[in-house]
């Protein structure tokens, strides 16, 4: 058996980057496993039973933190489940075991580049990036949105912390957009 392949971040480095621009800290995350779960038609009961106590199923436009599984809503009957990569690299297989045939599970870990944004007040940055009324939405708010023509998922962890998931192939363009906007706020 050949030896193991090395992994690179979405920006093409072996280690994730962190950028500081004024009050803004942009942290690339490379340690999260991701998978989508979709409830099969007519299997709602089995689905929620399987999830109970294991995988949170937040309401539309919401997200829930948990251990090991956090998750956020993406579409009717569909959620993205997050877990630490170190312990849950095979997240899709785990979830398949958990949900059996009540759910369609798809590996998503490498489909996305993730950037966590930190600042005392992220509103001035986000109002230049996407059409989300950030000061108005609650913690846990999760939604797909457009950032400079790039379709992303935005999760408001709290007033000063946001997660952005963007398509892995566009990671550089996405980071550039965030950095440019941050610089123009200063």
């Amino acid at each position: 058996m050949a030896d193991r392949l090395n992994a690179l971040t979405s920006l093409g480095h072996s280690d994730p980057v962190t950028r500081e621009i004024g009050p803004y800290r942009i942290v690339e995350r490379f340690d999260i496993a991701l998978a989508s779960i979709a409830c099969r038609r007519g299997r709602d009961k089995d689905f929620s039973k399987a999830a109970k106590g294991m995988v949170p199923l937040p309401d539309p436009a919401g997200s829930t933190q948990g251990a090991p599984y956090s998750s956020f809503w993406v579409a009717p009957d569909m959620w993205f489940v997050e877990a630490p990569f170190a312990t849950n690299e095979d997240i899709a297989e785990e979830l398949k075991r958990l949900f059996g045939d009540s759910a369609s599970v798809t590996e998503q870990t490498d489909g996305w580049a993730r950037f966590d944004l930190f600042a005392p007040d992220l509103a001035p940055l986000l109002e230049r990036l996407c059409n989300v009324d950030f000061p108005h939405v609650e913690d846990g708010f999760a939604s797909r949105t457009l950032v400079e023509h790039i379709g992303c998922y935005l999760i408001r962890r709290r007033q000063g912390e946001v997660t952005l998931y963007g398509p892995r192939s566009s990671a550089k363009s996405l980071l550039h957009a965030i950095e440019t906007a941050a610089a123009s706020v200063l």
Partner: protein, 94 residues
Amino acid sequence: MIIDHPILGPRDAQEFVYLGDASLMNRPDGLSDGIGAFHDYLYNRANPVGEHRELWYHEQGDRSWLVVTRNTLTHEITKVELARDVARASGRSR
């Protein structure tokens, strides 16, 4: 424009992709209906001045297809439904 998504609330129309008249839901059956039925289904439109039921896809959102009732003269939107629900109600689940 702003579309009041039945699940997500008001969302900018920029997040959506427009298809057209909601009559595009009523696809004939390929095994029982012929070219005439499909021709009328695919090509002819009422294209009204005023209230119009139309299909929008929330591509930069939750990927729901919606049936939006919108006035083509004022752009006022009076009703927004999940296309899946409308389709099921009209018996397309069979």
